[in-house]
Amino acid sequence: MSNNSGSDILVTITDLSFSRGEHKIFDGLTMEIPRKGITAIMGPSGTGKTTLLKLIGGQLTPDAGLIEVDGLNVHQLSSVELFKLRKRMGMLFQSGALLTDLTVFENVAYPLREHTRLSQPMIHELVLMKLNAVGLRGAAQLMPAELSGGMARRVAMARAIALDPMMIMYDEPFTGQDPISMGVLVRLIGELNSALDVCSIVVSHDVPETLSIADYIYLISDGKVVDKGTPEAMSKSQSAWTRQFIEALPDGPVPFHYPAPPLMDDLYQMKGLE
């Protein structure tokens, strides 16, 4: 664990710009994520929420701007330092990203075996404890292919917390889950956060679930932060963006139509082609 915990801010993002080819994903994004509690980053699909997590994890390099995690500029670290930083980050991918050729047990044991010199019985004990925390101790000997999507995510959670990280990033943890496993995941994220007392970053577009657990919310759209605040503040926010997103209105600042010339023009053109 780090010692320079003078500030309450763990992750600072300043003026971040990132583009894929011609398409600008972030354009002057600025946000601060506190050291404790659950911070949710919400926004419509395609706003690059996953990309943001990869930028924080140092897997992508921004075009401009600064990302600091625990006082370290992520993109100026040597690969050794970056790996050292990543050991203190846990990340939960949308698919779980379990290693398909290893059992559930071995998947959770993987970071321990890679980064520690713990004895076999010690690892065994730790892994079972982590699996117990997500309620899947009984599934230890299953292969990832035998798990449901929600179970795979819970195993990935156990793996993400294996090294007792200072922060856990969740990439769309609720997407495509049935109500039961959604509820399980919501409860788990909240419980893990309070039990481990870490920084949790949840990227999601599932409004009610996220609002129920987040301590602070950033709403991003078009590469910028369009609104931020606590869940209560967000619910009352007058911002058109927030209203559209939280109340799931089909049209608003995010238009229903993909940019196109007026309909009549298109129809007319089709006629001209005949």
């Binding site: 897997q59 050292k84 990543r86 991918f93 990203a97 970071p111 980064h115 793996r159």
Partner: protein, 259 residues
Amino acid sequence: MFALLQKLGHFIITFFQRLGRGHVFLLQVFASCGSLLVRPGLLVKQMYSVGVQTLIIVVVAGLFVGMVLALQSYYALVDFGAEDSVGVMVALSLVRELGPVVTALLFAGRAGSALTAEIGLMKATEQLSGMEMMAVNPLQRVIAPRFLAGVISMPMLGIIFCAVGIIGAYFVAVILLGLDYGSFWSQAQAKVDLYHDIYNGILKSFVFGVIASWIAVFEGYDCIPTSEGLGQATTRTVVHSSLAVLFLDFVLTAIMFSK
């Protein structure tokens, strides 16, 4: 007109970009191979899926290639009363050319495509990304063992192919066609040189092993992680490694056996 030029330019630029990426990748893989000393188990596991699982097809193919070679050379040589040379003809063709080349082609089709698909799928399911986020270098844990297993397995498969091919030829020539077993071996022994032919054949196999494994792991690592991209990458692995092997075979033959 300009569109055509642009297409050509685009093709050339992307080609060289890929070539550059591929070479940087190869250097990184070489650098990562050292970490296998700590975890030899990973290499053994890959030797199994890359080498052992290709063995069956190599043995069967070798047997039949040897038998066909013996049969065909017998028909060609018997008119000149030189059917005793079947042994040397089969042995030289196998050791110098067919052994390394056919093994490499089979390897590209069997092991290479599987490697590409496996690595590509790991990329598509974010397993490689996940490893990176766990502060584990996938080059060391995923790519290097597969690459090295391919490089080591190829010469071994090549030698086995040659040996089985010669046994197949012996079966056809001596047991079925009734040639003298002594002249079968003696002609081969007289003309096949341990250094000039067999070692060079193994060297060829080794070079093909590097090329085929490199292409296979690179295509997987560099693929577009969609079902379509994965399919294209697998196809490219087979096509590119086959072409590279045939081209390099020509170059190597010209260098090795020019005298």
